[in-house]
Symmetry: C2
Subunit: 122 residues, 2 copies
DNA sequence: AAATCATATGAACATTTGTTCATATGAATA
DNA sequence: TATTCATATGAACAAATGTTCATATGATTT
């Protein structure tokens, strides 16, 4: 097997297993999909947001309730709810001055549970 | 229902739905678990690491192979593999000078797939 | 219409994070 | 034993992120 570097700019390595790399390359999803996937998990990757999701998994709640529950400022909860909203993980409905948030779909709980399973089995 | 603030330091809100908050509070997992869960998802929340996991889902690979595949430096791949190792998402075996990495368990693929399902259904 | 209340948001700040560069480690080989 | 090569790692730096503070918005109530 030849030691070809393929003229890559960034990589300072020699290709060791050319066939493996070639094969895996054909199996990789589009960069855009992997980017989106990382962005999705990034949303789960914060304690405050995890707590919010966990709370909403139990019951619909307004912003103030969540702030009290987590003992955090209304502002920071509101900022985080915006992130969750953009990721389509939560939805909301307005009732007068109060805005109620809830989980958007069932995937949230599923992803959540898989994470817990992984942690429990380590 | 009374407007009690419960003497929270940080929250600038009035409790609106006291019963809801009380109930949800009893259902919340321990802070430590939620912290660990967030830490786990944080690991998935980076494009480079997602790509590495995706590649390893297809085949065991050495560090150089991954660097070539992703067109990144060996150093940055190695740093990220350390993160994945600490999260128990990948394992490795040494064969002479070469270190081969692979997925540690099947949860990785499952979490991965759930993420993709969520993205596809939005 | 003015005041009140729940929520949203922009800017600033501190912290965290990912990559790079230089170098260390540790195993095979000459 | 000296060299080579694959990998690991520490420090530095830039970029991203979460919270806070001040204030805006928008709906209700007086």
């Amino acid at each position: 097997m030849e030691d070809i570097n393929y003229g890559m700019d960034r990589c300072d390595c020699t290709v060791i297993h050319e066939e493996t790399v070639k094969h895996v390359r054909t199996k990789m999803p589009a960069d855009e999909n992997l980017y989106d996937l990382a962005e999705l998990f990034k949303v789960f990757g914060d304690t405050t947001r995890i707590k919010i999701l966990c709370a909403l998994a139990e019951s619909e709640m307004c912003v103030c309730d969540i702030a009290v529950l987590l003992n955090m400022t209304q502002s920071s909860i509101s900022h985080q709810l915006r992130v969750l909203k953009q990721a389509r993980l939560v939805r909301y409905r307005r009732e007068g001055k109060v805005v109620y948030y809830s989980l958007d779909d069932d995937h949230v709980k599923q992803i959540f549970n898989l994470g817990l399973i992984h942690l429990n089995e380590m």
